[in-house]
Symmetry: C2
Subunit: 305 residues, 2 copies
DNA sequence: TATTCCGATAGTGAC
DNA sequence: GTCACTATCGGAATGAG
């Protein structure tokens, strides 16, 4: 989960001067940072920046939302508010800012790609995801933004895995690119006269959804690659929270009133349940370290697909 | 618990050539090592060496005992056989050798002083202590040797703590020794004309007994100082095995047939029970590390008594 | 279901 | 009730002018 870092000296300003809908930040549609410090070159992330501005989705009364916000300010549960209110302070973390959302890199990524989409609406950002996504307009907006985030994630995944991908290499060779270097983009290919191999569908390796019981107070949607290979994935719960029904795909919202995934007992059992490889289904009981080693092997095979 | 060390290249000889009662070792009454590498100087340990030889206590049939011995040879449970059969190989560990016993320093001492007394009789050394000490002659022999070991232990404790002991300092000053250096001996004092302060009773700080369920196969009697201060005391069981009725004083043998200390359930509970400071009775629940820190403080007070 | 630190608990293998 | 190694499990604190 992302947390603000490297801003020890800065104290969050009182809510009266820093509300996002009356923000003191720069224009909200600005791309704050390119992900890889590659200057002006073509880049999967930068290509998708600067979408059309839209009106903020909520104009809920400031006083009420701010009061709730105040409760979690300055404690770990409320750390995400810093990105929501001051995205410009985190150029290394923030990938995209709109009037309604902030897209960041998770500070403790649990997979090769792990982004968080944060809504900026005070009327929504402290709601439980099950509640917030009962609002159709809000859900639609978040889905739209999550789709953008997922494309960014897929493009970045392509950049990272492209040189290893068998299906992409076939495509690259058909295009006369040769073996070296990653394929920076796998989108379209319509300029070619001959039918090209489709190339790897990196988007299919990206999953978008929430945790059934988030610990961070502010609503966040995970945009994460499937591999679950990360140094920061250190506990059974880390793994199970993404590989069991504890992870609720954004596509599944709004949840039915009787959806079993609302039940705390069910979800606690999901977090505690025995470990299973997401890719091959092999069971690892409580042997997390062994699963980790196995995931390294699976990663090698997965990235070559 | 002591184990042979530094003899990786040496394979235990077949029992037929190395039986202690038909030993190939040097004369069994020889003092193998002085404890502190102090050359020929007067020393608490060396003073008590070289007791009168006695006849070995057992002449049990070799074949039977050797068969049993063979079972635990070469595995960790049988490691003590090396000291019994080849005490001369461990000059740094062995303090005293007689026809009937070997006295060694525990390789993993659980207190400032921690010795083991090992009987050499194959008819006894694989028996459970409760069984072995039902033999009055064997018990008498072991008590006699344990008393020697306890005196050695007390003398060594005096050497280590003497300079910190308030009661000993009073005595030393009455004898005109001044403050510096440890008192090498606190025994008698009868040469003086004036009544001297008694000096600290170090023997009272030494406890002698067995574990109710030993893990090492060969019978061993612990001779250990009360402090339980040691880097090698690392587990709850280490501590409880010496500070609960799991520790059976040699003086309590032979145990009555209905002695509760024979009961496995009782003893397992002793090993698992909550931690209590042996000196002040303070309770530490399962907080072993906290107990360890507390024992450091108790040690400072205890050594100054 | 935030992380991090510390420490208790559990299983194994060892000649 | 042997040790030593690895790992799992469990609680507590957590920022900061």
């Amino acid at each position: 989960m992302a947390e603000p870092v490297g801003d020890k000296g800065e104290v969050p300003q009182p809510e009266s001067t820093s509300h996002p809908t009356t923000s003191d930040a720069k224009p909200t549609t600005e791309a704050v940072a390119s992900p890889s410090n590659t200057p002006a070159k073509r880049n999967a992330f930068t290509e998708l920046m600067a979408p059309k501005p839209k009106a903020p989705i909520s104009q809920a009364p400031q006083s009420m939302a701010s009061k709730a916000s105040q409760i979690v300010r300055g404690v770990w549960r409320g750390a995400l508010i810093e990105y929501i209110e001051h995205p410009e302070r985190f150029p290394d973390k923030v990938l995209r800012v709109t009037a309604n959302t902030v897209l960041i890199k998770d500070a403790f990524p649990k997979a090769t790609i792990h982004l968080l989409l944060l809504p900026r609406s005070p009327a929504h950002y402290l709601l439980h995801p099950h509640t917030a996504f009962a609002d159709p307009a809000f859900l639609a907006m978040m889905r739209e933004e999550a789709a953008v985030g997922a494309r960014l994630a897929a493009a970045e995944l392509a950049r990272r895995l492209g040189s290893f991908s068998a299906s992409n290499r076939a495509r690259d060779e058909a295009m006369g690119k040769g073996k070296g270097g990653g394929a920076a983009s796998d989108r379209d290919g319509s300029e070619s006269e001959l039918p090209l191999p489709a190339g790897r569908d990196y988007a299919a390796e990206i999953r978008v959804g929430t945790h059934a019981h988030p610990s961070m107070a502010h609503l966040h949607v995970h945009i994460i690659s499937r591999d679950m290979r990360s140094e920061r994935a250190r506990h059974r719960k880390h793994y199970n929270s993404f590989t069991t029904p504890f992870f609720v795909p954004l596509a599944d919202y709004p949840l039915g009133e009787d959806d079993v995934r609302r039940e705390t007992g069910f979800q606690n059992a999901n977090l505690k349940r025995e470990l299973v490889c997401w890719r091959c289904g092999k069971e690892f009981g409580n042997r997390f370290a062994e699963l980790k080693r196995h995931l390294e092997e699976e990663f090698e095979a997965w990235k070559k697909e």
